[in-house]
Each structure stands twice: as structure tokens, then as C-alpha cells.
Symmetry: C2
Subunit: 151 residues, 2 copies
């Protein structure tokens, strides 16, 4: 069974509140590489309110951030010929820039689906385009410039 | 004593997880207008980790989002001659676009200071520039395009 990208991070870099398997109080977002795209699924707790009925924008930005850095790590591995079918990858990315467009209110109580595509990769800089959808409606789009940490 | 901008929001629009006074489980960020700038102060709990030792980027984006919409509401009030010295303002903004540049790792255990300046206001669209600092070092900058909700 395929492991989520975040579960392949080096143990000492797996404490992220949004997606680290070693942060038991966090969101534990899990991202998978499927073909040439990445996917995460997340159903927010109802406390994450913006305007009542809609999901808190800060959470949406958080999900896109963690989805983006995981996607960047996966795309970097693919580019470098590093297998994702192993216990750990020697790649971890951090965010240089995150840009989020809120297109429509994100309804509460729904599973959100976040998709990522590689836009550009050059050296340690990886740009990923993302969408966040509920019920097949795109509620937010995002772009991340992720930076690969030096080993 | 001056009230934070978020505490002036209409009661039915004060449930935001990041800054709503009616969301008891949330961050309850408080933003103040001081002269021509806005300021919020927030010390994140240690669970909000990114790479160990640094503050979770998703929380930084969240703080900039809530600081930005509150700043936009304040700047809109000033532009329209609406006093902030009252129990409630008839203004609430939501986020159209949020752009965050992560300039340096944000250290944990420190009070973060978020500042906002009006960049542009036209009709219902308000653009605010922001900085987030720890120990007087700018760790992140941000820009928000906020949209004023119709009454």
C-alpha cells in the first residue's frame, strides 16, 4: 500500500502542525502522488468557521501550504529518480511563497479535495499549482513556491 | 479603552476561528488601529510547529488573513467616516486573495507582532500590506485583497 508523502519525511522533520506524523495535536494532512498529480482529502471540524457556514480561510491556506510542500517533495523525488516506495525520502521542502485565491465560500461539513500539479522545478525551487474543491466545485486555488531544504 | 476591530464586527459575523469573539475554541486574534497602521500581537502555542523550532507556516498565513480582513474593515471605516468608537461597525470583510512571503524562520516561544498598512481602496476592494515580526525581525510579509461584504 502506497504511503502518504508526509509519512516519508525524515523523522526529525515530521513535526509540522499541519501534516507531520509526529505532531499528534495537528491536522495530520496526508498527500498522495497519483500519476502526475497529488491529492489530499480532509474534512474540517466544524469549529473551523469563517462566516458561519463556510470553512475558515486560515485552515484553507494551511491545507494548501502542507499539500504544496508535500507535492513539491514528491515532484522533486520524481525529478531526481528517488523512489517513493521506501521507508523514508531524503527530501523535505519549506514554503517560500504561498498565494491563495478564494473563489467561492467553502461549505462546512464536506470532504475537501486538494489537488496539485507541478508547474516548474529548477534546482531547489519547486512551484506547484493547486485547487481545493468541495462537491467537485473549486472553492480556492493556490500556488506555492517551495524550497528544498539542504540535506 | 479602544476596542479591537474584531470585537466591533456584527454579532452574526463574529465566529471566525482565527479572530471571532464568538468562537471560544479559536485563536481570538485582536487587531487595533493605531494612527494609520494596524497592529496585532500573538504568541503561538508550541504545538504550532513547522520544522522544529519554527512556527507553523499555516498559522502565520492564518494570522495574516485575520489581521488583513480586520485591517481592511478599519481602513474602510476610516474612508467612509464610520467611527470605531462605538459598540459595532456595519463593516465585515472577507478574503479574495492572500499572498504570503516567508522571509525567515519564525522562532517559537516569541510574541509575534503583525502590522498592516492600507495600500489601495476602491469600492468594496481593499488591499492591505502586512509584516509579521519576532524580536523586531520581519519573518514574513503578506498582502491581502479583502472584499467588503454587502450589508
Amino acid at each position: 500500500m502506497k504511503k502518504p508523502i508526509q509519512d516519508l519525511y525524515p523523522e526529525n522533520l515530521a513535526h509540522c502542525y499541519g501534516c507531520g506524523k509526529n505532531n499528534t495535536q495537528g491536522h495530520q494532512l496526508k498527500t498522495y502522488l497519483e500519476g502526475e498529480e497529488t491529492i489530499s482529502r480532509f474534512t474540517p471540524d466544524l469549529k473551523y468557521t469563517a462566516i458561519p457556514g463556510s470553512v475558515y480561510g486560515g485552515l484553507i491556506a494551511s491545507l494548501l501550504d502542507c499539500h504544496g510542500t508535500a507535492s513539491a517533495a514528491a515532484f522533486a523525488c520524481v525529478a531526481e529518480g528517488i523512489s517513493l516506495e521506501q521507508a523514508q525520502i531524503p527530501v523535505r521542502c519549506v514554503t517560500g511563497n504561498l498565494n491563495v485565491n478564494f473563489k467561492a465560500m467553502t461549505p462546512q461539513g464536506k470532504e475537501l479535495v486538494i489537488m496539485g500539479k507541478l508547474k516548474h522545478i529548477e534546482g531547489r525551487k519547486i512551484t506547484v499549482e493547486m485547487t481545493l474543491s468541495a462537491d467537485n466545485v473549486v472553492c480556492a486555488t493556490g500556488e506555492i513556491l517551495a524550497i528544498k531544504l539542504r540535506e
